[in-house]
């Protein structure tokens, strides 16, 4: 008995029929991601808009005042007051009066007038890492600081520049995220998270359900081979996951003006590998779970937690404890987030993403092989 396209085709058709008959699944797979995208993207940028901020104006010139005024009008920050010295910022952070402090040092106006790089320091309170709100703001701050020509002065804390939001003509360029919209940074990662959740969650229950219904036994005694069943189960979900990728990408490109600087091909190839890896994870869960509840629970832990916390999509991975950083390498999401950001924002090609791409490829092969083996084991 060789692998038969008829048999694989029969499974694929059947899987699609199940989907058509159960609108809840289609809803979960096609509408939920859109909702998630809108929710996350808006919720996150809203958070950033509300960051409480104090200002320290050591220059006291029209230029510095105009510059600081730009914080108020930017919408990202809520200026709650001003303090006299850099030393006073500590107390402000400790009392949680503000999460951000902007310091304009003396000589700002002169530098601007000369056309030099004007120095500004922005301090972000990193002392509350558990607060998602600050964490996200922090991530944005980190990102925005990358490539800036304005230098941060306090080594222990991170600098953030927003001069472009005002009318100052300081030459500042942020490489990956020039208009400082957090959605632009987040959406390439969000695509990954959403795909991971959809694929793992949905495939996790598919084999368990067939086992519970008794249809698996009927297939076991048929000439259908394990590999054919696996491939047949994977194909429809691969297609749906791709539809999700395209959907979210298009929404990102149009509604959130996320740039796609790299090639679509690199993105597609990586997405395919990532989708296989995630589906494989789901199938493993499905093969080893005794009940639907268990499958859902494990899928949740396996998809949600690593996807959210260990993928680096919102929380910078170098700020989490070292063991967790190692753990993050065990899940495909982290590699895909790296690739996605590199392709979307930096225009990376195959050469630049070869590292994480290789990881994904190995991951996909291992996970799918394991799923097939484990599926056979269960039947005994």
């Amino acid at each position: 008995m060789n692998a038969s396209l008829t048999r694989i085709g029969a499974i694929v058709v059947k899987e699609f029929k199940h989907l058509i008959r159960d609108p809840r699944i289609l809803l979960a797979v096609l509408v939920t991601p859109i909702m998630q995208l809108l929710l996350f993207a808006y919720a996150i940028s809203f958070d950033v808009r509300d960051l409480s901020t104090v200002v320290v104006d050591q220059d006291q010139t029209p230029a510095s005042r105009t510059y600081l005024q730009s914080y108020t009008s930017s919408g990202f920050f809520k200026v709650v007051g001003s303090v006299d010295s850099v030393d006073a910022i500590d107390a402000v952070f400790q009392s949680s009066r503000a999460r951000v402090a902007v310091v304009v040092p003396a000589g700002f106006q002169e530098a601007v007038d000369r056309g030099d790089k004007a120095q500004v320091a922005v301090y972000v309170d990193g002392g509350d890492p558990n607060s998602a709100r600050i964490g996200q703001g922090y991530a944005v701050a980190l990102n925005q600081v990358a490539g800036q020509k304005i230098t941060a002065t306090w080594a222990a804390r991170q600098g953030l520049d927003l001069s472009q939001a005002g009318r100052l003509d300081v030459r500042v360029r942020t490489w990956y995220n020039p208009d400082r919209s957090s959605s632009i940074f987040l959406i390439p990662g969000l695509v990954v998270v959403i795909i991971m959740i959809v694929t793992v969650q949905q495939t996790a229950v598919t084999l368990v359900r067939e086992r519970a219904l008794g249809t698996q036994e009927q297939m076991t005694i048929s000439p259908l081979r394990k590999v054919e069943l696996m491939v047949g189960k994977l194909l429809p979900w691969t297609i749906l996951a791709f539809v999700d990728v395209v959907l979210i990408t298009l929404m990102g490109l149009t509604m959130f003006e996320v740039p796609l600087r790299g090639s679509v091909l690199v993105l597609a190839v990586s997405a395919a590998l990532f989708i296989f890896a995630s589906l494989g994870l789901g199938l493993i869960v499905s093969a080893i779970s005794p009940t639907l509840e268990t499958a859902n629970l494990i899928a949740m832990m396996l998809a949600f937690l690593p996807a959210f916390l260990l993928s680096g999509f919102a929380f910078p991975l170098d700020s989490i404890p070292l063991p967790l950083q190692w753990l993050s390498y065990l899940f495909p999401a982290r590699h895909m987030v790296d690739i996605s950001r590199a392709v979307f924002l930096k225009g990376a090609g195959f050469a630049e993403v070869s590292g994480p791409l290789g990881m994904l490829a190995v991951y996909a092969v291992v996970v799918l092989a394991l799923a097939t083996v484990l599926y056979g084991k269960r039947a005994r």
Partner: protein
């Protein structure tokens, strides 16, 4: 009969031949060393109370689980060493309804047509046959979920035989089906049998057992009797079965259970069946019943039904 088979090699000419078959779950032996042969073309009835190991046996015969020990030959192929070889030639209708309920009649057939790799012509022909046989012509696009139990079972049988198997395993195919539908279902089974298909059927219904050409009784993982229905019935001839009807079956049952000369008593329909020693005549028992307060007691001797045999076999086992 099973004693004669024990230790002998499997018979490759039989449709099914089983020697020393065991399946242990943890410490519990669900099937505890059974031997039997099913001849080709036979309607083989596999009987036994709940949990006696019938389904477990069928699952080993269809290679859906592997035995703990023992040998199985199905259609001449070793089902343990080469579970794939007989796959195209056997059909299986499981105890649980296992068609896809969210697919239509036609979609289910099409799925299994694909799984068994039927050509377009083969499929068209078999599909037409199955629809006709199951009486589902014109209902092809109905969701399986919406079919009543009798139709479902016929469709399940049709699906299990779509690829024209030489042997079909049916695990309690008529449980929960009304008597008329059961009758119809057995007509279909006879049709199959008359075309030379071997049938391996488990059932709880004794009237169905009488339809089989040979029977095996399972009890706690062992086969406690096997042979043609008539032979099994006759094996009880040393005892006599009396049908006792009184106004109050429950009370008379209690009385009979402790009465002298009565080996066994159990409800059978509206009356009570008593297995009594050969010397106890119906007249004597009637007199004793009347004396005990059952004024309108009627006692008539009956031919042992398979149910009688079965209850009796089980009680012997319990006593042993």
């Amino acid at each position: 009969m099973s004693e004669a088979l024990t230790g002998s090699p499997v018979n490759p000419d039989a449709a099914v031949s089983v020697r020393g078959l065991r399946k242990v779950f943890g410490k519990f032996a669900a099937v505890d060393g059974i031997d039997f042969d099913v001849r080709r073309g036979e309607v083989f009835g596999f009987l036994g109370p709940n949990g006696s190991g019938k389904t477990t046996t069928i699952r080993m015969l269809t290679s859906s689980i592997t035995p703990t020990s023992g040998t199985i030959s199905v259609l001449g192929e070793d089902a343990v060493k080469h579970p794939d070889r007989a796959k195209l030639r056997l059909g299986y209708m499981s105890q649980k309804f296992s068609l896809f309920e969210d697919l239509t009649v036609d979609e289910n057939l099409r799925f299994y047509g694909g799984v068994y790799d039927l050509t377009a012509e083969q499929f068209a022909e078999r599909r037409a046959y199955v629809l006709r046989m199951a009486g589902l012509e014109g209902r092809e696009s109905e969701l399986t979920r919406n079919l009543s139990v009798g139709w479902r079972q016929r469709l399940a049988l049709g699906t299990a035989t779509l690829h024209s198997p030489e042997i079909v395993f049916l695990d309690e195919p008529t449980s929960g089906v009304d008597p008329t539908a059961r009758r119809r279902f057995w007509d279909l089974l006879y049709d199959l049998a008359s075309n030379g298909v071997t049938l391996f059927v488990t059932t709880h219904y004794m009237d169905e057992a009488a339809n089989c050409s040979r029977l095996a009784f399972m009890y706690r993982g062992r086969i406690i009797a096997d042979g043609p229905p008539r032979e099994i019935r006759e094996s009880l001839l040393t005892e006599r079965i009396l049908d006792v009807s009184t106004g109050d079956a429950d009370r008379s049952l209690t009385w009979l259970e402790s009465a002298d000369g009565v080996h066994e008593a159990y409800l059978s329909g509206a009356s009570v069946h008593a297995v009594v020693e050969a010397g106890l005549s119906p007249e004597t028992l009637t007199a004793r019943l009347v004396a005990a307060g059952f004024a309108d007691a009627r006692v008539v001797p009956v031919d042992p039904t398979l149910e009688d045999v079965f209850v009796n076999l089980v009680s012997q086992q319990r006593g042993a």
